[in-house]
């Protein structure tokens, strides 16, 4: 366990982070965007919850990136 920590966390960030950052952003936009779109459809709005959902997803994704990869 210690060796792993030394090798990966020691100087450089974990190497999977580039892919993970992208998938957080995509996942956030896709999931909450879809929820917003579905809410629009179900409640009969044109575009009200879609942008809200996209925004929420974007904020959530960025928040995850910060807590998982920037602060740690």
């Amino acid at each position: 366990m210690n060796e792993r920590t030394d090798a990966v966390v020691g100087e450089e960030p974990p190497r999977a982070s580039a892919g993970a950052v992208l998938s957080y952003l995509l996942g956030g936009l896709a999931f909450w965007g879809l929820i917003g779109w579905g809410a629009d459809r179900a409640l009969g709005f044109d575009t009200l919850f879609l942008p809200i959902g996209l925004l929420l997803g974007l904020v959530g994704g960025i928040y995850l990136i910060i807590t998982q990869y920037v602060r740690s």
Partner: protein
Amino acid sequence: MYSAASEEGCHLFDPGCKFEAPGTSLFFPNPWLDFGLPATSGITKYTLVLVVALLVAAGFWYFTTRNAKVVPGRGQSMAEMLVSFIRDQITRTTMGKEGDKFIPLLLTLFLFIFSMNIMGLIPGLQLPVTSNLAFPAVLAIFVFILWNAVGIRRHGVGGHIKARLVPGGVPVWILPVVVPIEALSNFVIRPATHMIRLFATMFAGHLLLAVFAAGGWYMFNLFGAPNAGLGLLSAGFSGIALIGFLVFTAFELFIMAVQAYVFVLLSSIYLGEAMEGAH
């Protein structure tokens, strides 16, 4: 192989002749044997090339290790170099000593993917197996299942799911927003990008080579041109395409090795993460 322009023998300046760029039909060869099952392609060139790639990968180990000695010969030392490369560059840096038990798997994956990729450069075959999404998909899904199995075995079902869904250091009231994102990112997007990364690079590289070859062939019309100057010009352009083809062939060889390495490296990172649990 590059039959878009070559089969018709169609060249620049020929009357009624138009350049047809090679398209995605390259990746859907006509089946030699079709069983008529839905959503299957039957036995195609891919099947043949896959078998050849498998034989190459298996033959490599057979011939390099059948007479293993304490003082290795040329073949054996090549195989040993490959093993220590996977160990030192991939498993030790991502999993530490614990990762040693995955060396055989990752080594096999690396050599198999590399030999599947390199089939794109073998004259006569010239079709990288990994340029069809089905083959990287099977490998990526296999790694995904193994990733779950390793995590569940180490941390239990609940522990594994929790480690993958609940990010550390996040207040409880934010969890409803981020847990679905984590779920989508870990269980859908990551295996998808894992397979698409390999597939897309091989697909694009093969198409690029095909365009160079078809374009070079199409432009070569030394004797059929209206006059000698245009004939020489067409030969010159054709030569440039040929040089491009050769340069990109060398570049493709490099890409093929890099993509096999990246696929295995990512597999190793994922497996290491599953062993580690919550982060």
